[in-house]
Symmetry: C3
Subunit: 176 residues, 3 copies
């Protein structure tokens, strides 16, 4: 069991959420960039593309969470009624980790104020960390870069064991 | 239809939420300041005043959202049980845009730590952007100034068309 | 009545949430540090320890809110399924004050990026301010330090009277 967890800990899933990519009318530059970066970080990466449809997104998230330690979505976090990624993500999460989205917005805001319009949600489902990245390829990579220092620690924590007192209080968590 | 949207895109609504102003016992300095600034930004501004009553606030928000592109509320975002603006706003929103409130708090926090006590909520209802500003005239204008660089882009996005792939990925969204 | 409120305004409650401390297997360094600091700030401090069980946490929060102006929890804000403090807190709050948690994460993030993984929630129940601090003793004190400039003003506001127009607009709230 511990071996399984350790093994799946290296498996990530990139879900591109875009009507245009799903219809074949647009290249998946955002998904390509995120998948490449995850590969550089040592992850084995699976991928899928869905249209901006809540039911489809929710189904993909639930299925992928069962055998991946990390899911990064790209797309569908904007302001229009077609942007339903945050709603779909919230609907399947067991609990949110709001600081990841706060950090992506405040770091992204140093490049462009538009970063604050991302409705990104992050949280946990069946020990899998799910994070919404924006759809713009550049914004997606900048958002991923903002949380990279946290992702490994988050996945280590989620891999257990869950004697969380041993994890909530270590000196290593507060180096200063 | 497109012409209607373009036209209504310039219409903003300022909703003052205050027992004191509604009772005529207090001047509406907050609403005056916000309305004046929106006029400077090129908006045609309608206004109303309501007491701190959830049902009244919700009714006003729903009605104004039908024919305005932007609603700014002022007042009722504080800590007391009489402050119900965030609850009323959440109740009518289709979806939240949390980064706007995060940005107003962090920018306001540079002037006074009290800015972090604002329970401001922002989001979208029938393509109308709704944002809660604090009740203090100075804090309301500082909060508005913090999000001004975003409001025009947000309203352009909400005006459609909603082929959001064309909007989620533009280079212009990520100038750097 | 006013005297009662003023009196209870000085009463704070520190709730340590930890399986290990509740079982007697671990020292309550986090609770000790937070209680000591509250004493230095002039509060009369009551304390309790519970395991990471939602029903127990919720019961303690509701009971303590009845006769304390401030409740600080420590522990149970992390990523694992055993960390249920934020869920329990949300379940009992009348309304959230999200800026307090945003501020603790962004200030903590200056020491360690791990601060952004805290799922801390803050808000109000029966005029009592409840704030989740992390379980790490150092992180708990750093988080408390981040919100200290706000806590007194928040408690003064919650102590009433609730003619909130007199409190939402004072010049003293916006010194600049």
């Amino acid at each position: 069991m511990a071996a399984d967890v350790t093994s799946s800990d290296r498996h990530a899933f990139v879900l591109t959420i875009s009507d245009g990519v799903a219809a074949g009318a647009r290249q998946d530059a955002g998904g390509d960039g995120v998948a490449q970066r995850l590969g550089e970080l040592g992850f084995i990466v699976d991928r899928a593309v869905v249209a901006d449809e809540r039911a489809e997104i929710e189904g993909r998230l639930v299925a992928a969470a069962a055998d991946h330690a990390l899911i990064l979505t790209t797309g569908g976090t904007g302001l229009t009624p077609r942007d339903v990624t945050p709603q779909a993500t919230k609907a399947v999460l067991e609990y949110e980790v709001p600081g990841l989205s706060e950090l992506m917005r405040s770091e992204g805001g140093k490049s462009t104020p538009h970063a604050y319009l991302s409705r990104s949600v992050a949280g946990v489902l069946t020990r899998c960390l799910i994070v919404n990245l924006p759809g713009s390829p550049r914004a997606a990579l900048e958002s991923l870069a903002a949380i990279e220092p946290l992702v490994r620690h988050a996945l280590d924590t989620l891999a257990g064991p869950f004697d969380h007192d041993s994890m909530a209080h270590p000196d290593s968590e507060q180096p200063h």
